[in-house]
């Protein structure tokens, strides 16, 4: 996954202004431009494609509703990320309430052939273990980990998106990496 660069702000503003003037092409341009980024932010947080698809659509519907009130001094990219992250966090919390993560999943005994440092694990198993590791994270740490590790966003940008301090975001990222490492180590015996 290629790191996401912060898009050109001026071009975003043109799209926003066009949409505010009644030109739906401005909105369509924004969706096409950011749909993959928004999808992957969500997908890496919720893991499941169908859930990510539903949430992505909801995010862009929200954007369609709220774009007329968008303040032009703000960064559209940051604004979009914030909406996507909040929707994903809310979804995770709802799912957690419905299906609390079973302790048995965490302590599920690993078959001997899996304890080889993960070299011989197939992609599906790796995805499952990483998914489980990410699911152990609080929603905010998940979001920060995704934005920092996958999207390589700077801390100050993540801090704006999450509306937290830079120090808090750094701490979130550190603890997320540490927890994932501990879980993976426990699962594959690194």
């Amino acid at each position: 996954m290629a790191p996401q660069s912060i898009p050109d702000k001026n071009k975003d503003l043109e799209c926003v202004r066009a949409f505010k003037n009644g030109d739906v092409r401005g909105y369509n341009e924004i969706v096409r431009k950011y749909q993959q980024q928004v999808y992957w932010v969500i997908r890496k947080m919720v893991q499941d494609h169908d859930d990510a698809d539903d949430i992505t659509q909801e995010v862009f519907i929200k954007v369609h509703t709220a774009l007329r009130d968008f303040r032009e001094e703000s960064n559209l990219f940051t604004w979009l990320y914030r909406i996507a992250t909040n929707y994903a966090i809310n979804h995770i919390r709802k799912v957690k309430v419905k299906n609390t993560v079973s302790v048995e999943i965490v302590t599920d005994p690993i078959e001997a052939h899996e304890k080889d440092g993960g070299e011989n694990l197939d992609d599906e198993r790796k995805r499952r273990i990483l998914g489980e590791a990410i699911e152990t994270l609080p929603p905010q740490q998940r979001a920060v980990f995704n934005m920092r590790y996958y999207d390589e966003l700077p801390y100050d940008e993540i801090a704006k998106i999450m509306e937290k301090s830079v120090g808090g975001i750094k701490a979130n990222y550190f603890h997320a990496v540490k927890k994932i490492g501990e879980y993976v180590k426990q699962r594959i015996g690194n």
Partner: protein, 265 residues
């Protein structure tokens, strides 16, 4: 202690050190610390393995047409929700009219039921009946009183006639009350008995007047009829009066007639 704290702080830089996101100054700091601290090296190794594992995990890409279909599907949802919202707004707009109108109608109906002409008539009838009852009660009282008065007067007249028939004077004056029927005779002990009876009867009347109105008025009449001039007294008087009248001579009869004419009886 400071060294320990520094290692803990440097651990926060390790993830970015591994991913190459640290600036040059922090990178040099971590490089030097890794040479000196085994604990930091161990953490570095664990974190590097973690990132190695994570980087090896490939997320399953969505279908190729997914990105082409996403925008139309979003527009479909937007249109569907707009239509739904529109219909809901229409419904809500209708309800905004219907509810107040229904409330007014309901209030009017309830008001009409409560204040309906039938109820008003029935109430008026009730009021009238009450008034009639009150009026009839007073009329009955008045009628009873009138009847009683007439009867008393008649009885007084009879008494007076009886007395005058015995050749005695009928005393009229402030002490004589037709209503109460107080009649006194100078020389007749029977008259005194009668007067006493009348007084007693009048006392009874007065006492009975003070008691309950409706039922007692009728009882009062009966009491008066039976007590003011008892039948055996009247019968006795009639016989005696007749015999006395028969015994009167012509002059006495003429005088009696003149006296009777003077008395307006």
């Amino acid at each position: 202690m400071n060294n320990k704290l520094n290692i803990e702080e440097l651990k926060y830089l390790i993830p970015d050190y591994i991913t190459g996101a640290l600036d040059e100054n922090d990178k040099l700091l971590v490089d030097n610390a890794l040479k000196e601290s085994a604990e930091l090296r161990e953490f570095y190794t664990e974190t590097k393995n973690t990132f190695k594992f994570v980087s090896n995990v490939k997320f399953e890409e969505p279908p190729a047409q997914y990105w082409n279909n996403l925008l139309p599907r979003i527009h479909e949802k937007i249109d569907a929700r707009a239509a739904k919202k529109l219909s809901w707004d229409n419904i809500s707009a209708i309800w905004k009219i219907i509810v107040p109108v229904a409330a007014v109608i309901l209030f009017f109906v309830i008001y009409q039921l409560v204040k309906s002409p039938e109820n008003q008539i029935s109430k008026k009838q009730e009021n009238k009946e009450q008034k009639i009852n009150v009026d009839s009660g007073s009329n009955v009282k008045n009628e009873v009183k009138d009847e009683k008065k007439e009867q008393v007067e008649k009885k007084d007249d009879n008494v007076a006639n009886n007395i005058s028939g015995n050749g005695n004077k009928i005393v009229k004056g402030p002490g004589v009350n037709k209503r109460n029927g107080v009649v006194r005779h100078q020389n007749a002990p029977e008259e005194e008995n009668m007067a006493d009876n009348n007084e007693k009867n009048n006392d009874n009347l007065n006492n009975e007047k003070e008691s309950n109105v409706e039922n007692e008025e009728y009882a009062l009449i009966e009491t008066e009829e039976s007590s003011i001039l008892p039948g055996h007294v009247l019968g006795t008087m009639d016989d005696e009066t007749e015999s006395e009248l028969n015994n009167l001579n012509g002059n006495e009869k003429d005088q009696l007639i003149e006296n009777l004419l003077k008395t307006d009886l």
